[in-house]
């Protein structure tokens, strides 16, 4: 399978501040990948480097097979992008903006756009500058979907949407990926939405990708382990594969990144302890990773 998105050792800073420090990421065709990171982790910078809106300082990047900094019109036509905090053409009515955008794309799907407007109950007569944040977000998503691009890039797509609209958005994306080959990359910090629609998660932390893989894999490998040693005091637990540890006397709580039954047995044997394992959801895993 070819990689729709490929980053290798990409670095980017603003002045002296380093934001991306050797990011590598490969996104094959058809993947729905969520980019998770705290505020200021560099999610937006990463997306902008990828789309050629920022020039990388070092490293290699490619999107749909081309260098982001020199994208051809054909590749640009294959991308749907929803940026954050973008309010284009404030004087246009929403409906006029859709028509205007459609005029740039020969492959624009008028019926699809109309359907989305209907599903999302968007009032087309409202001027862009008077749309609420949530309404604007819906409009931008429609503009990104209308030309049915093979690659969708969303920067915090659901941040300003209410729960009803968020669900509507998830449904729309699931429909899109079910109906045609489409790769989706979106940044977020709403982990429950990510769990629903993404098959893969990339965690951006301290300027690099800390984890990239299946959400299932992450959930099955990162576990919280409670140890209780009836016979003595437990030693310091800062060992390989331990994300966080808290030891107090006979008890310890560890968060491990490579849980397995073998690991459990080894903990039981090494420390002569009773071991209890707790599943963590994505949000808890994310918090543990950022502690």
């Amino acid at each position: 399978m070819r990689n729709i998105i490929y980053l290798q050792d990409v670095s980017k800073g603003y002045g002296r501040k380093v934001v991306l420090d050797g990011v590598s990421l490969a996104v094959p065709e058809g993947m729905v990948i969520g980019l998770l990171g705290t505020n200021g982790a560099g999610k937006t910078t990463l997306l902008k480097c990828l789309l050629g809106l920022l020039k990388v300082d070092a490293g290699k990047a490619s999107i749909l097979g081309e260098d982001p900094w020199h994208l051809s019109a054909a590749v640009k036509a294959g991308i749907g992008y929803v940026p954050q905090g973008y309010r284009p053409y404030p004087w246009l009515q929403a409906g006029r903006l859709i028509e205007y955008t459609a005029s740039f794309y020969p492959q624009w799907n008028t019926a699809l756009a109309a359907q989305l407007v209907k599903d999302w109950k968007l009032d087309l007569s409202v001027r862009v500058d008077t749309l609420s944040e949530g309404e604007l977000q819906k409009l931008l998503i429609i503009l990104a979907l209308g030309h049915e691009p093979p690659l969708l890039v969303f920067d915090e797509p659901v941040a300003s949407l209410d729960p009803v609209a968020r669900r509507e958005f998830l449904k729309t994306i699931l429909d899109v990926v079910a109906e045609r080959p489409c790769t989706v990359l979106f940044s977020t910090h709403i982990t429950s939405d990510l769990e629903r629609i993404a098959d893969t998660v990339a965690v951006l932390r301290a300027g690099t990708i800390d984890f990239c893989g299946g959400i299932d894999v992450l959930k099955e490998s990162v576990k919280r382990v409670r140890l209780y040693c009836p016979t003595g005091v437990l030693p310091d637990m800062g060992q390989e594969g331990v994300i966080n540890s808290y030891v107090r006397g006979q008890q310890a709580i560890l968060t491990v990144r490579d849980y397995s039954d073998a690991r459990r047995e080894s903990l039981e044997k090494t420390f002569g302890a009773l071991v209890d394992v707790e599943d963590l959801n994505l949000e808890e895993i994310f918090l543990e990773m950022n502690r």
């Binding site: 998830l170 079910a178 769990e195 629903r196 629609i197 959400i215 299932d216 409670r226 009773l274 959801n281």
Partner: protein, 134 residues
């Protein structure tokens, strides 16, 4: 056939258990509890994905691991079916499943009360003994 997969599955994305695993467990337990009957077809991957609002890959992963474990079977062109002769899960297995389900509930409640494994096991033994002598 208009399946609404929400009647079959209840998914909690915020749970620590991966979504594919939740579907897997619910089919398994559903068969054991008689919620799914032999010869019945499961809702299609697409239906499940749409009505539960989860990625189709996730549903597909659940179904293929169920198929690999022999719990369901693929009928070409028709979908996934609970085997007519549900070989994998015979009566004793069903009891096992029920027991697992009950114990899981106890474990969950115990964890909420921050009780450890040892004290739950101890209590179980104590009550068992009491019952026997009663």
């Amino acid at each position: 056939m208009d399946h609404n997969a929400r009647l079959y599955f209840q998914i909690s994305p915020a749970s620590g258990v991966p979504i594919y695993r939740q579907i897997y467990d619910q089919v398994k337990i559903g068969i054991a509890l008689g919620k799914f009957v032999a010869g019945e077809f499961l809702p299609s991957i697409r239906d499940v994905s749409k009505s539960l609002e989860v990625n189709p890959m996730t549903v597909s992963k659940a179904y293929s691991s169920l198929e690999k474990s022999g719990i369901i079977e693929l009928v070409r062109g028709q979908g996934m079916r609970i085997p007519v002769k549900a070989e994998g899960i015979t009566m004793p297995d069903r009891d096992q499943e029920r027991l697992t389900l009950l114990i899981k509930e106890v474990i969950n409640s115990a964890q909420q009360l921050s009780l450890d494994e040892a004290s739950v096991v101890q209590k179980l033994r104590a009550i068992w003994e009491e019952d026997r002598h009663a």
